[in-house]
């Protein structure tokens, strides 16, 4: 554990309904990475070694150690009792002494920014992306956006178009991660609510194939990155 709060590379970022989002600073920092490594178990250390690039190794170690530290604090358990399982589609969940922990989480990292979302109830997904100019933005738009989204993007210009693309993409990826079924349905087969496409920061969404389940969407982006969270609403919430 870092010696003090000031040494932590993570900090509270946003509360979204009953979910809490933590920001993880993933900038290169050898001292932080050395501390982070002490938090990882053997399997995680092996996984880290398999990453081919220093950046990917660093992002994994810093995010996983932050996740462990926060979960241990919230669950009141020592790090040694905490482990992670994964669903059939690879979505991780926390185990304490081999039993599923009463808290859900989702992790995303892009470049030097990481976000971890936590909630006691409801599936949730989070995504963060650095807005890198894509080599083939038109091709990407054609692959992952629905017809109305493509129309919105066609009328946007320059930097606004890039921002709108990443805004829509992060909401879609957050939804897919929240659903936890891999990448089914196809991301171009559903569309982000019109109000959010046009600048509203929040919205409620239903998948066409799952109309009884509602998802709270919120744009978490800022001038440094695009980001979004999707959180399953309980049936009795309004």
């Amino acid at each position: 554990m870092p010696a003090s709060v000031a040494d932590c590379w993570w900090r509270p970022f946003r509360n979204v309904g009953t979910a809490a989002v933590v920001y993880v600073d993933l900038a290169p920092d050898a001292a932080r990475e050395a501390v982070a490594l002490t938090w990882l178990d053997q399997e995680e250390q092996s996984r880290r070694q398999r990453f081919r690039f220093d950046g990917a190794r660093r992002r994994f170690a810093l995010c996983r150690a932050a996740l462990r530290a926060i979960l241990c604090g919230q669950l009141g358990c020592p790090n040694q009792q905490l482990a992670f399982g994964a669903s059939h589609h690879g979505k991780p969940y926390a185990l304490v002494n081999g039993q599923p922990a009463p808290i859900g989480f989702n992790v995303s990292h892009g470049s030097v920014h990481g976000l971890i979302a936590f909630a006691a109830e409801g599936r949730l997904g989070v995504d963060v992306e650095e807005r890198s100019p894509a080599r083939d933005l038109d091709g990407l738009i054609g692959s992952v956006m629905g017809p109305e989204e493509r129309a919105e993007l066609a009328s946007a210009r320059g930097n606004h178009r890039l921002h709108l693309f990443y805004h829509l993409w992060t909401v879609k990826e957050a939804l897919m991660k929240a659903l936890g079924t891999g990448l089914t349905p196809d991301v171009s087969g559903f569309e982000i609510p019109m109000a959010m496409r046009r600048g509203k920061k929040t919205g409620i969404f239903r998948f066409p194939h799952l109309p009884t389940v509602r998802w709270w969407l919120e744009d978490l982006g800022n001038e440094h990155f695009a980001a979004a969270i999707a959180h399953e609403l309980s049936p009795d919430s309004h």
């Binding site: 990917a56 992306e129 080599r135 091709g139 891999g182």
Partner: protein, 81 residues
């Protein structure tokens, strides 16, 4: 004609990078693009390139479920020509 593996290596070298570095694909193609740290947006673009260049149905889901470039090559070679 170049093998599927060699064509994939070229496609990756020309179109993907992580933290500004090109991805060096080993001879045996035993590398996972996800574990190499390729972003989801870049994976979408890569899937589209694979579909176009090899004339096969290849989606982001294939990118994430096939665990290595070797598995991608085997998948492509298994598709009807």
């Amino acid at each position: 004609m170049a093998s599927t593996g060699d064509r994939l290596k070229t496609l990756i070298a020309d179109n993907l990078e992580v933290d500004g570095q090109a991805i060096a694909v080993p001879e045996n193609l035993d590398i996972s693009l996800l574990e190499a740290g390729v972003s989801s947006v870049d994976l979408v673009a890569f899937a589209k390139l694979v579909a176009r260049d090899f004339n096969v149905k290849f989606t982001l889901e294939h990118c994430t479920t096939l665990n290595s470039v070797k598995e991608v090559a085997d998948f492509i070679d298994s598709q009807p020509g």
